[in-house]
């Protein structure tokens, strides 16, 4: 099974779930469901052609070269750190999580000079504070703890 066939099957399942379960549960009224059903049909018809098209394509075994385990781990770690940063803004405010995000991400990406690791986030966040909060008088998230 090639990549497009897998995508086609996932989209097909998505459309079936939307049509039979999500729309009846989340949309009340016939008129309100016209457009959601229209978009589902749009995706479904396009997906039908994708599946048909994918049968004609010879599967390419080396379509995408996966990186090594360490790289995958580091990449997922960065995405995870970003998610944690976003989720903690509500508690810690804007500046602490973004400072930590910058330091950790730059360090994972290979910045080794600790002066850069501290100075760049510090200067950047101070500039943001003065530009956005002082000059434009727009409050960034304060957080519940700080």
């Amino acid at each position: 099974m090639n990549r497009d066939q897998k995508i086609g099957i996932i989209i097909l399942i998505f459309c079936i779930v939307i049509w039979f379960f999500v729309i009846p549960a989340q949309v009340t009224g016939r008129r309100e469901s016209i457009f959601p059903r229209f978009t589902t049909i749009w995706i479904l018809i396009s997906n039908f052609f994708l599946i048909v098209q994918s049968w004609k394509v010879v599967p390419n075994k080396i379509s995408y070269e996966l990186p090594d385990k360490k790289t995958i781990f580091q990449f997922i770690a960065i995405a995870f750190i970003l998610l944690i940063c976003i989720l903690t803004i509500d508690f810690l405010g804007f500046f602490i999580p973004t400072f930590l995000f910058l330091v950790i991400t730059m360090s994972v990406l290979g910045v080794r000079d600790w002066r850069l690791l501290i100075l760049i986030p510090l200067v950047l966040l101070l500039s943001i504070h003065f530009l956005i909060e002082k000059l434009l008088v727009f409050p960034l998230p304060k957080g519940r703890i700080f």
Partner: protein
């Protein structure tokens, strides 16, 4: 008329108005140049300050912000492949490859020339054609509008994707995302899963920043990690941008400018026509203009790899919308886009009510507005030239430092839009989705365009069905609507035939 023109110009030509315009343009370009902030953000943030200004100065500042921000959005798109605004996405197609070739100065200058030229020409279109275009626009009812939007979406899927079918799936996804939130007619919640945040619907800013900025940052970080792990430490991961001191790489020669003129005029035509229709907006115009130029080019294979015409077409297309977008605002009181809606707010705050009688009651005001637009263009050109000269040096920042910073700006841009922390989660989700979509070759621009047009498409479709009593024949019995339906089928068939021929 001459008296009105003179009166209008004399209303504008005061130092405070000119300074307000200059301030607006400078702040607009600066904010547009920061990924995540845009002309809309700039207008939102500075709108309260316009209370303290006289009407003309306030409008001069807002128009300056809008025009400056529009150009500024192309700066990060060209330099870092992280478009600050939705319309700048198309500019990045060829702008960033030019940067990678060490020609960022050339790309920025072409973007500036194309955007200010198209903007000025579109302002003249506003000036001379406001009344007749408004008459034509009045003929476009809900069924015609529905078919025009469907036609635009199919054209985008056909022309803008490597794989037409995947383009159509992307369009469907964007339309589906637009459904989340309250029903536009009955205000009943749909797909909210009990979440208060989702009942307001998905906002365009977190989707733009997620799909284009965060996902691009993820891709770049993946590259850095791959190269780091393969122990290829020959500075490639620190800086993939070719460094060149050759001045000709940072200038647009007369021959190059002449070569790009058809792309600019094409963009002006497409952008102006679309700008007169409320809601279609700059992103669609940029996309269609780009595709038109690519199709008309003798070397379409160069597009996406650093074709200067591509930058010119995209910028001309999106900037040509600005002038005609004010036509429905001035003549009918209908804002053509979000920026126009905010400007409408500013008009009303100043006691001016745009609408059918505006041109009769405030004729000098219309000419004053025109003068303001031209002055803003002059400032965009001069301030933009300074930016283009110096800002290109930012590309020399190592990527391992740059992309974490870009993500922080994306967080700020998303939060500033409506002070909602939930939008940050949406931005993150779309960042991951955008990253995956690019890997599986589902184009992300059609998702954005159809999301933007989705709400208006549904409204018009539902209105048309209400008018016809639920019969869908209304879309095929009105002449303009039928013409666009046939045109849509023709475009699809023409494309399939073209693809088959190419394969042979």
């Amino acid at each position: 008329m001459l008296e009105n023109i003179v009166n209008g110009m004399s209303m504008v030509l005061h130092l405070d108005n000119i300074l307000a315009s200059l301030f607006g343009v400078t702040i607009g370009i600066t904010m547009g140049a920061i990924p995540g902030l845009s002309d809309i953000t700039a207008i939102c943030l500075l709108l309260p300050f316009t209370f303290y200004l006289k009407p003309i100065a306030a409008i001069a500042m807002l128009m300056g912000l809008s025009k400056g921000g529009n150009f500024g959005g192309s700066i990060p798109a060209i330099l870092f492949n992280v478009p600050g605004t939705a319309q700048a996405v198309v500019t990045s197609y060829d702008g960033y490859p030019l940067t990678k070739q060490g020609k960022s100065g050339k790309a920025l200058k072409m973007a500036l020339y194309a955007s200010t030229m198209a903007d000025t020409l579109s302002d003249f279109i506003l000036f001379f054609l406001a009344a007749p275009v408004a008459t034509v626009a009045l003929m476009i009812g809900p069924p015609e509008y529905t078919m025009i939007v469907i036609f635009s979406l199919v054209v985008i899927a056909v022309a803008g994707s490597e794989n037409f079918v995947k383009g159509m799936i992307a369009i469907g996804m964007g339309l589906f995302l637009a459904v989340i939130g309250l029903d536009p007619v009955t205000a009943k919640p749909r797909f909210t899963f009990g979440s208060i945040e989702l009942s307001a619907g998905l906002a365009v800013v977190p989707i733009v920043l997620g799909l284009f900025v965060v996902s691009e940052a993820f891709r770049q970080m993946e590259l850095i990690l791959r190269e780091k792990s393969s122990r290829n430490l020959n500075n490639r991961y620190q800086n993939q941008i070719k460094k060149t001191d050759n001045l000709s790489d940072h200038r647009v020669s007369l021959a190059e400018f002449k070569h790009c003129l058809p792309a600019i005029f094409g963009g002006v035509g497409i952008g102006s026509a679309l700008g007169a229709i409320p809601g279609i907006g700059t992103t669609v115009a940029a996309y269609l203009s780009y595709m038109h130029t690519k199709r008309a080019s003798k070397h379409p294979e160069l597009f996406g790899k650093g074709a200067l015409e591509g930058v010119a077409a995209a910028e001309a297309g999106n900037n040509a919308v600005v002038g005609p977008n004010l036509i429905p605002l001035i003549t009918l009181g209908i804002p053509g886009n979000l920026a126009a809606a905010l400007i409408l707010g500013a008009f009303m705050m100043q006691g001016l009510v745009p609408g059918p009688l505006f041109m009769q009651q405030y004729a000098p005001m219309l000419y004053a507005l025109f003068t303001v637009l031209i002055i803003s263009n002059i400032f965009t050109f001069t301030v933009g030239s300074l930016f283009a000269k110096y800002v290109r040096h930012l590309t020399y920042i190592p990527k391992r430092i740059l992309y974490p910073i870009v993500i922080v700006f994306a967080i700020i841009g998303t939060y500033i839009f409506r002070s909602n922390l939930f939008d940050l989660i949406i931005m993150f989700i779309f960042g991951v989705l955008g990253y995956i979509f690019v890997k599986i070759k589902i184009p992300i621009t059609p998702i954005l365009v159809s999301f933007i047009l989705g709400e208006i498409l549904e409204k018009r479709m539902r209105q048309a069905l209400i008018i016809s009593g639920g019969s869908s024949t209304i879309f095929f019995t009105k002449p303009i609507s039928l013409a666009f339906f046939l045109l849509t089928i023709f475009v699809v068939l023409f494309f399939i035939r073209g693809r088959k021929k190419n394969k042979i």
